[in-house]
Amino acid sequence: MRNSLLFLLMFNTLPLLAQPVGFRKVENETAFRSGMQKAAAELQSIRADFIQEKVLSMLDDKVVSKGIFLFAKESKLRMEYTSPFEYLMIINGDKVTIRDRQKTNTFSSRSNRLFTIINNIILDCVRGTVLQNKDFKSEIFSGNKKYLIKLTPVKSELKDYFSHLHVYIDMTDFAVQQFDMFEPNGDYTSIRFSNRKDNVEISPAEFTAP
């Protein structure tokens, strides 16, 4: 009798363990998907501040950095880290420009598989096309005022870099608020947007190499 109760308890609890704390699985995904598609179609550009937290799980520590984020359709992105270090990453189509303290490098993202992977993830997250990315299996959850898309890599190549990703979406306007990239070693990086302004004019010069 006790074993049966334990068995029942386990089976009732397992689905809860699979879902992030504070979120429950969305029963009807159609409404969510159409909301995402509509928001993605209307989105032309984003200007926002971001805070990035790199959490080192085994060291029980984190590194916080801040910067400015720009996006313009279809695939232009500028992430400018301003504190505590200066670092600029511009993606314009398949061209990537990186400027750090020492050098500015421009190269094709096709020549660097890792960059292609990360670029696609970031772009898909911000422009709302993440559910179409075939490299990941997606699950949709809803919580208080926001949705959560959990992305699990399908390809073994991606599994080397990420165990899973979380993308947090505002329930009112389907805007991406935050995304977390979890690594196999337990570390994760969280990028959170603030002061977000959609569909503002952004000069094309912002997406060209400095």
Binding site: Q52, K54, L56, M58, L59, D61, V63, V64, S65, M79, Y81, P84, F85, Y87, M89, I98, D100, R101, Q102, K103, N105, L114, I118, D160, Y161, M181, E183, N185, D187, T189, I191
Partner: protein, 210 residues
């Protein structure tokens, strides 16, 4: 003739006292064999130190965030991540022991690990080495050397023992790693440049204030 021989014998006897004949630093300014150890002043526990690091290997350039943190006395973790948060490697230095906690698949090559272990180890391992076997004063700086197999590692401090100024690693024939070290006190440097002199490999480090 006698004068010439006497001078050479004197130089030879000085070398025997400090056991540094085979190494390139010359005892021109030696004021005697009594030289106090500066590097013993460095503590076993360091505060967490975060650097922006850039690595140039031939034509390749890579930058990121390098974090040093003691998890226990004499146990230091060195974690290198990309600016966007992906962990490249996580090493643990414990006395003379070394452990790869994790490393990105692309970097998981023996020569790469060996080079990184050696270079990063030079920055932190001297605190675990105990008393230097070689000591001398040269150019108003205090040189402390440790012999390991066929190599000697020299730690060069200012004459007042207030800070480390450079590190160099040499074989009997030549210096093959030179580290310029800028900082004050008995902690990791504010900035440093690690140069390999036998092949094009340089690491620049600049401390970040979070």
């Amino acid at each position: 003739m006698w004068k010439f021989l006497r001078q050479n014998l004197l130089l030879l006897s000085t070398c025997v006292v400090v056991s540094a004949c085979a190494s390139s630093p010359v005892l021109e300014d030696s004021t005697g064999p009594v030289v106090s150890s500066c590097i013993q002043h460095y503590p076993d526990m360091l505060p967490k130190t975060v650097y922006h690091a850039s690595v140039d290997a031939g034509k390749r350039h890579l930058s990121g965030i390098l974090i040093f943190k003691n998890t226990a006395p004499n146990i230091t973790r060195a974690v290198f991540t990309s600016e966007t948060g992906l962990t490249f490697f996580d090493f643990e230095f414990s006395g003379n022991q070394f452990r790869v906690v994790s490393i990105m698949k692309n970097l998981n090559r023996k020569p790469v690990i060996k080079t990184l272990r050696n270079d990063i180890g030079l920055l932190i391992r001297f605190r675990n080495r105990g008393t230097s076997t070689l000591r001398m004063i040269k150019d108003h700086q205090i040189w402390e050397g440790f012999e390991e197999r066929k190599n000697t590692t020299w730690y060069v401090s200012d004459s007042l023992c207030t800070s480390l100024q450079s590190i160099q690693m040499e074989s009997k024939r030549k210096t093959y790693i030179h580290i310029d070290w800028w900082g004050t006190g008995f902690i990791l440097p504010d900035s440093a440049i690690i140069r390999h002199l036998s092949y094009p490999f340089t690491i620049h480090l600049k401390k970040l204030t979070e």
